[in-house]
Symmetry: C2
Subunit: 355 residues, 2 copies
């Protein structure tokens, strides 16, 4: 591993490890994104995935919110769909529509066309390069977070071929071909393990796994098709790093809409559990108390529309619900929306640090 500049702000890592913090750390999902005019300027000139694949551009965008706001972490600019791409699938980002797979998976035979985990990994080198470059350019200001999409979330994109309100095609696989589903989920787990280990070796100081489609499952489906793979990813990443004499970094799992699985997630081996805005932080503290896990979240992204004073009051209320400063990483309960005024981010970050 490279020799990186010393870390000047370890607040988020301390929070993740359950150590005392001077202030509540904050970062925001999609903090490097379309709500920033400097992002839109880069995006005008380059295709979405070209930015992901060009370390210099991904680094530039990752650093944009860090220059603007007093955030406690950077997150590498990338997308969860780079993994299906590395497995051999074509993914386009269509403005106004979102991601589109021209040839989604139709049936289990299509699995044969996917690359193996081992063959897919080299295709993700550009992410590792972007992480290393960004880690240097950050000059130790804040830690750099790496991430990936959880197997079920990636599988559902690969089958739906884009956004879907019901994920009924992907869920049909779970009910009608559970064996093929398990095979695909295991492949995605294997890639994810190598991918996350590679991100840490490249310089990532924290990792987040996004199970963005947990809301479409119920507890039985989640326990069969999501949780075992999430757990496997966490334990294998940590073990692999330890075997290579690398101290494991804190790992976060965020299962959006997975209110029914909160307790299971708190006991799944991850250091941090992300909450969406529908979960009451006080209830989450109670449910997760025993596990000792740190919580992340969970402001309604639309609260950033509120006038300054009201947003400050909402943040205070959230602080009161989380109850104490430790074991809490402040964030939104979902990514920030493209039409948000960057000024609201300043209000949010300052209000959290004032708690």
């Amino acid at each position: 591993m490279e020799n990186f500049p010393p870390l000047l702000n370890d607040r988020i890592l301390r929070a993740a490890r359950g150590q005392d913090v001077d202030k509540v750390p904050i970062w925001v999902m999609r903090q490097a994104g379309r709500y920033l005019p400097e992002f839109r300027k880069v995006r005008e000139k380059h295709d979405f995935f070209t930015i992901c694949q060009t370390p210099e551009l991904a680094c530039e965008i990752t650093l944009q919110p860090i220059s603007r706001f007093d955030l406690d972490a950077a997150i590498i600019f990338s997308d969860i769909l780079v993994v299906p791409q590395a497995l051999g699938m074509e993914v386009l980002m269509k403005p106004g529509t979102g991601p589109v797979f021209p040839k989604p998976l139709i049936d289990s035979c299509d699995l044969d066309a996917l690359k193996t985990a081992k063959a897919a990994l080299p295709d993700l080198n550009y992410v590792f390069e972007a992480i290393t470059l960004t880690r240097k350019r950050l000059e130790g200001k804040v830690p750099l977070i790496g991430f990936t999409g959880a197997p079920w979330t990636l599988m559902s994109y690969m089958i739906e071929g884009g956004g879907s309100k019901t994920l009924s095609k992907a869920k049909k696989w779970l009910y009608t071909c559970p064996e093929a589903s398990m095979k695909l989920l295991q492949l995605l787990t294997d890639v994810n393990v190598d991918y996350l280990v590679g991100q840490v070796k490249a310089g990532a100081q924290m990792l987040q796994v996004f199970e963005s489609h947990a809301e479409h499952l119920d507890e039985d489906l989640f326990n069969k098709f999501s949780l075992p793979f999430l757990t496997q990813i966490c334990s294998r990443v940590k073990k692999t790093l330890r075997d290579d004499d690398i101290e494991p970094v804190p790992m976060t799992v965020f299962a959006k809409g997975g209110h029914y699985a909160l307790k299971s997630l708190a006991n799944s081996g991850y250091d941090v559990v992300g909450l969406d805005w529908t979960i009451d932080p006080g209830v989450a503290r109670e449910v997760c108390e025993e596990s000792g896990v740190t919580l992340q979240g969970n402001l309604d992204p639309c609260a950033l529309y509120a006038p300054k004073e009201e947003l400050e009051a909402i943040v205070k209320k959230m602080g009161a619900k989380f109850g104490h400063k430790n074991k809490w990483i402040a964030n939104l309960g979902h990514g920030i929306y493209p039409d948000m005024d960057p000024e609201s981010m300043t209000t949010l970050v300052n209000a959290v640090h004032k708690l």
Copy 2:
């Protein structure tokens, strides 16, 4: 009120009132819908809203699933968006896209263009006529359910102008113009009260209020912008009926994604609380025990993709989770999907009745 044929199957009404039942009653959201070839045949010849507005056609479609399956209730074929239409907004149903408002509400000034509740009601006469006709044609076979969309759900459609993943435009109203939001929600509440009372007078034997967009709110927003109006609708409908010497019919509230509000909903005055599939029925029984409310739901709609034996096993499991036959109306946790095999409905209905 008309003299209708005597009711031969009151299982669902008994369940709603907490009385003993011989079998668990079942109906399915969107049971009169696109998964039925006989529905698609009518739909080929007529526009969606033309069907809603033509009592003979709405009646025909309402009865289609009753002829095919051993269901315990019919639900009048209509749409929650007939209410915004009655208030003066144009709504089109675009195949493959869903509902579209060519001129959605942009700001609070647009509220002035909406009709009053009193002026809107006569525009809904076609629903009342459809209900009366259907009630006759049902010949007492099963009760007829009427319904409406809850104020927040209707408001969000009226502002978003169609489907939206985030409802960020509508939620922006809640954060930036709460007064105008309350005014709109109150208008929708007033229309809904008259509309539901009118449905009962026309022959509806049970009512359901759909808060389909609860998942986008958090507890604070829900308690301010949804719950008070839901509660108001229930109490005013029942009071108005009593004042007119009409025995109130059982009322169901279904707040999709509203797991965080389950206890509040159980105590909101409704007789039945609908559950989506992310809520564990055992947990719901515990949370709602004290309130004495009946529960409705909550099979994952995609479970109907499962092979016959597996679907039967899933229904058995659901039955075990609900624990006992009383105070339970079986249903899906969401409307049935258009690509479902009608055979699966037969399996579902029979499996529930065998419990």
